[in-house]
Amino acid sequence: MSDFEGTNLFAQQEANRRKSRWIVAAFILFFAWLGFGADAILYFASRGGRSPVPWQPGFPLIGVVLTAAAAMLIYYTRRHGAEKVLWATGAAELTDPRTDEERRLANVADEMAIAAGVSRPRLWLVNDPDPNAFATGDDPAKSHIAVTTGLLGTLNRDELQAVLAHEYGHIKNLDTQLMTFLAALVGSVLLIREGMGRFLFYGGRLGGSRSRDRDRDGGGGAGPLVIVLLVLWVISWILAPIVINVLAMWVSRKREYLADAMSAQFTRNPLALASALEKIESAEAPTKSIKAGTAHLCIADPLGRPLSNRQGRLADAFATHPPMALRIARLEAMGHGSAFRDAASPPAQPA
């Protein structure tokens, strides 16, 4: 490891670990707020003696349940997040290379494992003609790298090597740890939101019809407060997945530059990655197998969003990847620097 990689790598790992801790804390606190908020709403709503739900609110049951559920979700996501992500893309593990392409992939992965100094991750294939690749995993020692069949068919050996080296860079950075976690969280929250939506719909119908009759008898001066709390609670419930998505994008954009640089460091061939990125960019988008939640794990935006090509605060907040042209330009600048130049490629003879 050179000093360049040493200083940036260490700082990056620390930053990723810190972000992971913050996200865990924010996630659990958010659910606690939602849960205890719901309890407060129910408490105020039932102060008149009529409870909109089948039990009498006193002990903050929902708060405790949601906080415990959030903690369990975090634990479960940490352990099984990678499998979920891979399952969502329909990836198949490459355990026994048969074709020349598969053998080449396995060999190139082994070579890069040596260059990167990490153990070789499990390899997966996604059946999709659009070239793309992503890495996922909870622990650098137990990671996964997936490539699309389109990637295997489009790139030559050096370019494939460069793309894999980029993914190894993410694994070494602990980017995969953080981003797998986020991807799995996004998926879980969306699932829960759907479930809770149904619960609220049926529960609200029952509660609303009952309390409407009795409120006319002089129910609660807590009425407006309840409504305000309820509205806030519903808004936050809708906002939660959006916030998580923005978080996911925020953590990822600048990572790509570092992973590109690490790829150049591992292969000593930045032009190979530049050439690979050009091929990936010019291929037909989108990669249908890779859904939005896992977009930030890939080497190129699988949805081919035009926002990715812009710079500035707004694009930084919502785009998953930096502009491809800029990534290629940086790599070419590295490549044409004297440190990586091959011995004398002869200049073209003038006619």
Partner: protein
């Protein structure tokens, strides 16, 4: 008051000493590990070669010299690598460099036997050899990077005060000794010939 300051200074010095010593030990072991990695890949190559020779021998009756060059280079390399370690790299580097040269000459000759090339075995073997060459060169790269870090740390002040106690010795880098690999192609721009 001054004893407290003195104690604090001593405590800081001791802590620094421990971390410098441990840092050197860690790098020494990383260097050794990287060296072993090269060893593993070199052995892989040594083991692949007999297989390759067997596969091409039948079809390449007129290329006995090339084949024998590979076999003898391999045997020399095996003995050279057996006695090598991070403080004694040059012999192994040279022997392996010569083996690389002999192998590439053999593979270049194989190119001129299209029937042989078309055999599935040869294709697979070529991929295996390419992959092994790459692995050797990446292992070598990793070793050189780690060894450079180790050497730099040993030379930097104040860590260089600790090297004796840590028994830290500079590690040699794995240089390219095969002249063919280093040779810069001659470029003739033909200024004199232009009319």
């Amino acid at each position: 008051m001054s004893t407290v300051i003195l104690l604090v200074i001593i405590a800081i010095a001791v802590l620094w000493f421990i971390s410098a010593y441990n840092g050197l030990i860690s790098l020494k072991n990383q260097t050794l590990n990287a060296w072993k990695q090269i060893d593993v890949q070199l052995k892989r190559r040594h083991d692949l070669i007999p297989n390759l020779i067997e596969t091409v021998k039948g079809a390449m009756n007129f290329e006995k010299e090339t084949l024998e060059a590979v076999i003898s280079a391999r045997n020399k390399a095996i003995t050279a690598v057996a006695g090598a370690n991070p403080q004694n790299v040059a012999g192994a580097a040279q022997a392996e460099g010569q083996l690389t040269g002999a192998l590439s000459r053999l593979l270049a000759v194989v190119e001129s036997y299209p029937d042989l090339k078309a055999t599935a075995n040869v294709g697979q073997l070529q991929e295996e050899l390419t992959s092994t060459e790459n692995k050797i060169s990446f292992a070598r790269q990793m070793y050189n990077d780690t060894a450079t870090q180790y050497n730099t740390r040993q030379q930097q002040f104040p860590t260089n005060l600790v090297t004796g106690m840590a028994q830290a010795v500079p590690a040699q880098l794995w240089e390219i000794t095969d002249e063919a690999e280093r040779a810069v192609p001659k470029v003739d721009l033909g200024f004199g010939k232009r009319s």
